[in-house]
């Protein structure tokens, strides 16, 4: 005999304003099988939960309906309360009286009647609920970190320090990411390499970290706790086990004039190369697109000079599978291409460069050994103009959003330039200076007051090159209300921050959402900023939104903490809402097996004691099933049902309306 309790929540005024909650609980108390009907201002509060717990014990309830907010909000809360009182938590259901009723209606009488209907529906369902047990799945305590920039390195080091294994995958030949390219870092002017390279070495040598450089994620199977990820190990044409990194090969390589991506195209590299001298691993790869041996079969010089015989022109991409329990995506960013701005030269003016190019000019390890020289003629520029918001805050040709880091790095650039060229003039065109961070505002003031950077509030309309090589910058000083023209030797554009190419495809592999600009979506913008909608997949760094280094490192450590939290238990508990096959009626038509998007439905042989196969049927893997119900809908003999949402329960709900 069913003994059901109905508890109606006012949700402050959210429900109570439009629904007469007392009338709903009184009406519910008269429904068949209901023994208790109550209402309270905040059912989710401790006194509210106590009402439910007390009623379960005193009235010996066999089922509970809570008429309150969406089950997405508080189903977990109320089921936990029911469990504390000794009731199986899956015997509690919620009627959504807020999102489905009070928030979308204004007529009180009608809203109250609808609330009563919604409660009656759930009472009819709960009478047919069966106790369920959460499913336990084992966890593979190894993490995959995708991206070997500072975000990926930090996350990998933190997980490794927590005693768990990490596979760190990087698409380039070396880890280090963009941070390895920076000269100095705001707001302290630490040398970027000095603080990063020790971490790179630590990541490579840590016993818990397996480094896979020149590798990419090819495919993903499985679910939280049990992912199987296939990694494409791209052909390096150099056997890292034999190579000692002596450098004979790239010193001899005759293909010398390839623009070096690491130096933003300002320096040159060979066809066999390490991207920079501090690379980790410090072992070269062959760029197949430029190598004449690989393209035309001519040359072979590197193989001849290699004392260890490490060069292998037959090398091919290999696929490697790793089993991991959690994933951290840390794929980072790149700069937007300012070629779209025709009025700024459309990318054709050599002395109009982006922020990374300036970083390489200012870096002691850069192509000019830290001397500021302009690309066109190698002369020291005496007037440098910096343009902020280039492609940011401009949805006509660029991006709608603020790229967040440009105000600070432009101040740093102006400062570094003034430190290096004492008689030089640094002019910064800005729209707003957004320096919200510890020591940031002080840093910008220092650039203006101590280092003499000239800040002009306005946007630049046009950059043209005069015959004498000067760049004529037409800007405005909006505070003075007048146009400003500056003859510059070098212009640095603070290009917008955009996600890496291919990041959308990677998101699709992992089932992670992304926004219209391609940045990965967090599960909740405030309360779950590190998680994604895909369980067990976490985010770190600029792949989620433009971020500076301190923020990136914070988020990477947060992602590592989430991974370690997941790995702290040997098993995961999952909601038992999964499909179940009735073996007595299953005709083994295999429709469910071909329909299942998760590969959870599979063949099963019913055997006798001797092991002889009596009959084949379909079966569902509890670990893989996500409870989507596709199999139940395609089953022709109605042999598949979804726990918690059986046909019988749904029919009862509909009949109660």
């Amino acid at each position: 005999m069913a003994r059901i309790g109905v508890f109606i929540c006012h949700c402050g005024e959210n429900i109570g304003r439009t629904v007469d909650c007392a009338a709903v609980s009184a009406a519910a108390a008269k429904m068949p099988g209901v023994v208790v009907g109550m209402d309270y201002k905040y059912m989710c509060s401790d006194p509210g939960q106590q009402m439910i717990r007390k009623a379960i014990i005193e009235q010996k309830l066999t089922g509970v309906v809570v008429g309150a907010c969406s089950p997405r909000m508080h189903e977990r809360t109320f089921r936990a309360a029911a469990a504390e009182a000794g009731l199986n938590p899956y015997l509690l259901e919620m009627a959504n009286l807020r999102e489905h009723c009070s928030w979308v209606h204004s007529n009180q009488a009608e809203a109250t009647q609808k609330a009563i209907d919604l409660v009656r529906v759930m009472v009819a369902k709960v009478r047919r609920n069966r106790p369920l047990r959460p499913i336990r799945v084992p966890v593979e305590p190894t993490a995959l970190v995708v991206g070997g920039g500072i975000a990926g390195i930090q996350a990998a080091l933190d997980i490794a320090a927590g005693g768990k294994k990490v596979v760190l995958v990087e698409s380039g030949p070396s880890i280090g990411g963009h941070m390895a390219r920076l000269s100095e870092t705001f707001p302290t002017l630490d040398c970027s390499q000095c603080i990063l390279t020790p971490r790179m070495v630590e990541a490579a040598s840590h016993p818990n970290i397996t480094l896979m450089t020149y590798s990419e994620v090819a495919s993903v199977e499985g679910f939280v706790g049990n992912f199987t990820v296939t990694i494409r190990r791209k052909a390096r044409y150099v056997d890292p086990a034999k190579c000692t990194g002596c450098g004979d090969c790239f010193n001899k390589c005759p293909i010398k004039k390839i623009p070096n991506e690491f130096d933003a195209g300002l320096g040159l590299r060979r066809a066999i190369y390490v991207p920079f001298p501090q690379a980790v691993p410090n072992k070269p790869v062959i760029d197949a697109a430029h190598c004449t041996m690989l393209q035309k079969g001519k040359c072979g010089l590197c193989a001849k000079v290699c004392p260890r015989g490490a060069i292998d022109y037959q090398d091919q991409d290999r696929l490697e599978k790793v089993k991991v329990g959690a994933v951290v995506l840390a794929t980072g960013f790149q700069l937007w291409d300012h070629a779209a701005y025709g009025e700024y030269g459309g990318g054709r003016l050599r002395d109009v460069i982006d922020g990374f190019a300036f970083e390489r000019l200012a870096s002691a390890s850069g192509p000019t050994a830290g001397l500021i020289k302009r690309p066109s003629d190698g002369k020291e520029p005496k007037t440098v103009v910096f343009l902020q918001c280039c492609g940011s805050r401009d949805d006509k040709v660029g991006k709608k959003y603020c790229s967040k880091i440009c105000c600070m790095y432009t101040a740093k650039h102006a400062m570094l330039y003034r430190h290096k060229v004492h008689d030089g003039r640094a002019v910064v065109f800005y729209m707003d200076v957004r320096a919200a961070g510890k020591g940031y505002e002080e840093f910008v003031r220092r650039a203006i007051e101590a280092d003499g950077a000239e800040y002009v509030r306005g946007r630049v309309s046009r950059i043209t090159r005069r015959r004498d090589g000067k760049l004529v910058v037409l800007g405005a000083d909006t505070l003075a209300g007048r146009p400003v023209t500056i003859d510059a030797d070098l212009v640095v554009l603070a290009d917008a921050v955009v996600p890496r190419p291919g990041s959308e495809k990677l998101a699709q592999l992992f089932g992670v959402g992304y926004d219209q600009d391609g940045f990965y979506s967090e599960a909740h913008p405030k309360l779950r900023p590190v998680e994604t909608a895909a369980a067990g997949v976490f985010l770190a760094g600029a792949c989620q939104a433009p971020k500076d280094i301190p923020e990136t490192v914070s988020q990477a450590s947060a992602a590592a903490a989430k991974v370690l939290g997941l790995f702290a238990k040997p098993e995961l508990e999952r909601e038992p809402v999964i499909a179940r096959v009735n073996r007595t009626t299953c005709a083994h038509c295999r429709a469910c097996i071909s329909a299942c998007p998760y590969g959870a439905a599979k063949d099963f042989d019913i055997v006798d004691r001797a092991g002889k196969v009596l009959r084949a049927v379909a079966d569902v893997n509890e670990g893989l099933c996500q409870g989507c119900g596709t199999c139940a809908s395609v089953c022709r003999s109605h042999s598949v049902d979804l726990d918690g949402f059986t046909d019988e329960q749904i029919h009862a709900e509909l009949n109660a309306l």
């Binding site: 009025e343 918001c389 805050r393 401009d394 949805d395 006509k396 040709v397 660029g398 729209m431 509030r457 306005g458 946007r459 630049v460 309309s461 046009r462 037409l474 800007g475 405005a476 000083d477 909006t478 209300g481 007048r482 146009p483 400003v484």
Partner: protein, 186 residues
């Protein structure tokens, strides 16, 4: 636009110029690219800012400024505006308002005289003609000797044809002018 209060100028700018004034974030790219900005008493971005304010004092400054009359309508501002706005169209709207009000600053009277001479020439001959335009402008502005040395230079470069071109549908052009006058009579 629901829920926001819109002043009269903002409404006019939206309806006749297609410009939502609140969308301007004062970057100054209009001023930066404007070939006439250096001659203006209010820069284009200041005009947009005062138009955003839209109060009586702002309107007084806008309708009395010289800058309105210096805008040549080259549309560089509209072409480069990152918010897809058209400051030149706002200038047009303000110019019409100032003209209707009748208080034109002294420095702008010659500009107005030129506009009028131009329109008179077109109304009369059906299209622009250099010599009649110059004559009408001199009569209206009483600036008889200004730029007089440019005449021979332009003549030599064949930029000043002595005989005006006339078009066939002069009557139709006149009717267009007549209709416009009727429609815009206050």
């Amino acid at each position: 636009m629901s829920g926001t209060k819109e002043h009269a100028l903002a409404k006019a700018a939206r309806e006749t110029a297609g410009v939502v004034l609140s969308e301007c974030y004062q970057c100054g790219k209009c001023t930066a690219g404007c070939p006439m900005a250096r001659y203006m008493d209010l820069s284009p971005n200041q005009i947009m800012r005062l138009a955003q304010a839209g109060d009586d004092a702002a309107l007084e400054r806008l309708l009395g400024c010289e800058a309105l009359w210096y805008c040549v309508g080259c549309l560089t501002c509209a072409q480069r505006c990152p918010r897809k706005l058209d400051p030149a169209a706002v200038m047009d709207l303000l110019r019409e308002m100032a003209h209707r009000r009748g208080k034109i600053p002294a420095a702008a009277r010659k500009v107005l005289a030129f506009h009028k001479a131009f329109l008179d020439t077109v109304e009369h001959g059906g299209r622009m003609a250099e010599i009649p335009l110059v004559l009408r402008y001199k009569m209206k502005s009483l600036d008889l000797l200004g730029d007089v040395m440019l005449g021979p230079v332009m003549l030599a470069k064949r930029k000043l044809p002595l005989l005006p071109h006339r078009i066939r549908g002069r009557g139709e052009v006149r009717r267009i002018f007549k209709k416009c006058r009727e429609e815009h009579r206050p």
